[in-house]
């Protein structure tokens, strides 16, 4: 896979290998915390560890719905870029103004996968099993690959 910046500051990932294309296409599904209480709790954490019931209620009523909407909007933007990749072959373009949506969705995916499959720090420090033996191995691979993608974007932003 080659990574370049285009004239408008967008990121262009070309010659993306088929296994990576497959993992990229799975980002928004991985980011969806539906069906996993642990993933939901990680994406929408409590605002305090203290006994502050009014604050928790406020969070439930106002903040969590806003966060949910923001996460969903970011994922929709990412899906749009992935659809363009699917129709154009092995090249993924992330326009500069989509980078924050990508950082968010990649992070949602990594956190939701780690929570859903109870992936620990020790798991992340071990080399990922290849080929993956089960869904959990696959989740660990996804977390690593999405992390690399995030790191590329972060380094690009840092260089601006």
């Amino acid at each position: 896979m080659k990574i370049e910046r285009d004239a408008s500051g967008g990121f262009v990932f070309s010659e993306v290998e088929p296994p990576l294309v497959e993992l990229f296409m799975a980002i928004s599904a991985a980011a969806d915390p539906e069906g996993s209480r642990a993933a939901q709790e990680r994406l929408f954490p409590e605002p305090t560890e203290q006994k502050e019931e009014s604050l928790r209620a406020e969070w439930d009523e106002f903040v969590r719905p806003e966060l949910r909407e923001a996460f969903e909007n970011a994922a929709v933007m990412v899906e749009g870029d992935l659809e363009a990749m699917a129709s154009g072959g092995e090249e993924l373009t992330i326009p500069r103004d989509h980078v924050d949506a990508w950082l968010s969705t990649l992070n949602q995916a990594r956190l939701a996968l780690a929570a859903r499959y109870e992936v620990s720090e020790a798991d992340l420090n071990r080399a990922a099993a290849y080929p993956p033996r089960d869904e959990r191995d696959m989740a660990v691979s996804q977390i690593h690959v999405y992390g690399l993608l995030q790191e590329c974007l972060l380094q690009g932003l840092e260089a601006e």
């Binding site: 954490p45 605002p47 604050l55 966060l67 992070n107 620990s120 720090e121 790191e151 972060l154």
Partner: protein
């Protein structure tokens, strides 16, 4: 004003004035470079200060990144949650 009213008023004032800490907790999944970026964006920290807090989170498990009024603390925690950091607010001891 009687003694009870004075006491209640005083307690309310104390509650309003008690500073709140915004705390970021360690999360092994979030990238260190990402956490640094978020601190710079949300609090306007220099790169050095952002890295200092990020390393404190990483090594000590938590870092108090801001202290002040409740309303502003809520706003910061909301922003940190929007960036998917594990953040809470707590009354300062």
């Amino acid at each position: 004003m009687n003694a009870t009213q004075t006491e209640t008023k005083s307690q309310t004032k104390t509650a309003l004035e008690t500073p709140w800490n915004v705390v970021v907790h360690n999360d092994p999944v979030n990238l260190m470079s990402y956490v640094t970026l978020v601190f710079r964006r949300v609090f306007g920290f220099s790169k050095e200060k952002a890295e200092e807090h990020m390393l404190e989170v990483h090594h000590k498990g938590r870092s108090i990144v801001w202290s002040g009024g409740r309303e502003r603390a809520e706003l910061y925690v909301q922003q940190l949650h929007a960036y998917l950091l594990l953040a809470t607010m707590e009354r300062a001891a």
